[in-house]
């Protein structure tokens, strides 16, 4: 690779990159000229608890899939700091538009972690109220939700709900692969020209299923923002403090009427794309090991230990509580009722459809016809 090429290219996974970092992998606090956090000991312990809990719940869901209780699971393993940091940065009035992997953000919004599991178990397609939860329904078509987020943010502008501390902001989650989608680029354009209060939060986990970042870009992703006319910033996505600080600042800028920001949270998908994927076919173990040393949870634990903010009893209790939550989640997943067969005819249209009604009746009559034959 020539020097010119290397300058233009995205860094390979695991390479040293410039990003906003407030907590090193060794658990040392570092300062940054533009970003800082002001957490007390309770808050730092709370972040640790969040990180451990979302990882444990995620592991439980993976186990449930392996046991045939979920059809599929998209693990967030490795991305806990990006999700907890950004999720905790949201204020209550803010709206989030997730992909299908934002279980950690969902947890930090105070939402019952059972909520998305119906989708992965196959008993519904999500089924929650995005507005009441301030958390959009999981979106599986890559990047489509970034436009929904932008439109929602345009609505905030129309409602005049920007310009004060009480202003509203939107966060749109997506991955490195999504940055190649037209929808994501169109959302950047709409957000820019309408100065919409939206933060584009890209979790660059280095892979779009099997394709590495180099198949999506020749420039660092955060630099894309400048071409659209708004700021872009890269943050250590395995650093919960930096992820929080950068997201909080971007959201507050948005709610005060300063428009969009692109955040590239530089992280790594430690697990498979989903439980259907086999990452050993496209990446080497040494790369995974390298990222293991940058684990988002270990560094917070080291910080708490170094600064004497938590003792073994605390860590043990966090682990025990997470296990308890995971067991509860498991029990509730197993108890999720299968939908009634006629459910598929419900909610196709807000005002209904006589054609769907007729098909539901035919379906019911067909089923009822077996009742008379006995034994079927």
């Amino acid at each position: 690779m020539t020097r010119a090429e290397s300058k233009r290219s995205a860094p390979p996974p695991g390479a040293d990159v410039d990003f906003v970092q407030l907590l090193t992998p060794d658990g040392e606090r570092v300062t940054h000229p533009d970003y800082s956090v002001d957490f007390d000991a309770d808050e730092l312990r709370g972040l640790y608890r969040d990180l451990v809990t979302v990882r444990k719940l995620d592991a439980e869901a993976t186990a449930l899939q392996r046991q045939g209780e979920l059809g599929i699971w998209a693990s967030l393993l490795g991305q806990e700091a990006a999700q907890v940091g950004s999720g905790r940065a949201l204020r209550p009035q803010d709206m989030a538009f997730p992909t299908y992997r934002e279980h950690g953000v969902l947890y930090c919004r105070g939402i019952d972690p059972i909520m998305p599991l119906g989708l992965f178990r196959g008993v519904d397609q999500g089924g929650w109220d995005p507005i009441a939860n301030k958390f959009g329904i999981y979106t599986i078509v890559i990047g489509a939700q970034t436009l929904h987020a932008t439109g929602y943010a345009m609505g905030i502008n129309k409602d005049g709900k920007v310009g004060t501390d009480e202003g509203e902001a939107v966060i749109a989650y997506f991955g490195d692969g999504a940055t190649s989608q037209g929808d994501v680029n169109e959302s950047f354009i709409f957000a820019s020209v309408y100065n919409a209060p939206v933060v584009f939060f890209c979790q660059n986990n280095q892979y779009a299923i099997s394709e590495p970042l180099q198949r999506q870009t020749r420039v660092p992703l955060y630099q894309r923002a400048s071409g659209f006319g708004f700021p872009g910033v890269r943050v250590d996505g395995n650093d919960v403090l930096a992820s929080y600080a950068v997201t909080r600042a971007a959201l507050d800028n948005a709610r005060h009427g300063q428009g969009p920001t692109l955040i590239e949270a530089y992280t790594y998908r430690m697990g498979a794309h989903t439980t259907s994927d086999d990452p050993t076919r496209y990446r080497v173990a040494s790369e995974v090991e390298e990222w293991q040393a940058k684990d988002p949870i270990a560094r917070v634990r080291k910080l708490l230990e170094r600064e004497g903010l938590a003792d073994d009893e605390f860590f043990a209790s966090v682990d025990a509580d997470a296990r308890t939550e995971a067991v509860k989640l498991r029990e509730r997943v197993l108890a999720l009722p299968d939908p009634d067969p006629t459910e598929m005819f419900a909610n196709v249209y807000p005002n209904g459809s006589h054609e769907i009604d007729a098909q539901r009746e035919q379906f019911a009559a067909y089923h009822a016809s077996f009742a008379h034959e006995g034994g079927h």
Partner: protein, 325 residues
Amino acid sequence: MADTLTIGKALNLGLRRAMEDDPKVVLMGEDIGKLGGVFRITDGLQKDFGEDRVIDTPLAESGIVGTAIGLALRGYRPVVEIQFDGFVYPAYDQIVCQVAKMHFRSRGKVSLPIVIRIPFGGGIGAVEHHSESPEAYFAHTAGLKVVACSNPSDAYWMIQQAIASDDPIVFFEPKRRYWEKGPVDTDSAPFALHESVVTRPGSDVTVLAYGPMVRTALDAATAAEEDGRSLEVIDLRTLSPLDMVPVYESVRRTGRAIVVHEAPGNLGLGAELAARITEECFYSLEAPVLRVTGYDTPYPAARLEEEYLPDLDRVLDGVDRSFGW
């Protein structure tokens, strides 16, 4: 109050009235502001309602529909203009995967009251992509409702009914008929949105049409009368869901049915209509249901479009074939 209006002006007045009735109604599209749209359907609306409610968008159809979804989630009622039929495809994913399915996906917790207006069909001598009839793509998609207006009264009322509906609606406008005039009673709507209507009663053969082909079918009926044949013309108006009740009633009386549309025949609305009529009216039929449609070719160059499009003579030829059975 009865007025004589063009279809284009009726749409314009219908949009205006919808915006007056509900401050949450916003229009979005390319060139719909100062220009008033390439067909002037939104003429003067930005001047009166402001740039915040009549939104000139970036030139990106998926972006227009995708952000309309966000605005709808925020409580707005977006009315999206797709400039030409052939330009809707970049938005196809957002329409089919998102607009159509959000209500179902949320188990009814949210609705997306979005209207997607599409000027459709040929006959204007245009270059490629400006003369297409993509209605079957959308009628095939659960979660979308699809309607087509054919005259000024329907243009005025159906656009308002579509905007007031909580269902996502793809609204087809017969672009080559925008300048045709007709009476509009602006006091009360003559029909519900999802209602098919007998436009011209007859007794010998039922002709089913929608959008620009309704005029063609009516002209054919007038011509056929001179030959002593009585054509009953039904304006379908609603393409999804279909309103088959007046169709069945008609075909049981006439025993013959011909479907006319500009879109290619293969897997078009005519195929579905023929199947349903056959299922419901089998013993009443004197002949198979016939289709008079565009050919299964790409829409041809403008100098050939008169050969491609069903016209009066092709409708009458269909009638002859039905009687020759």
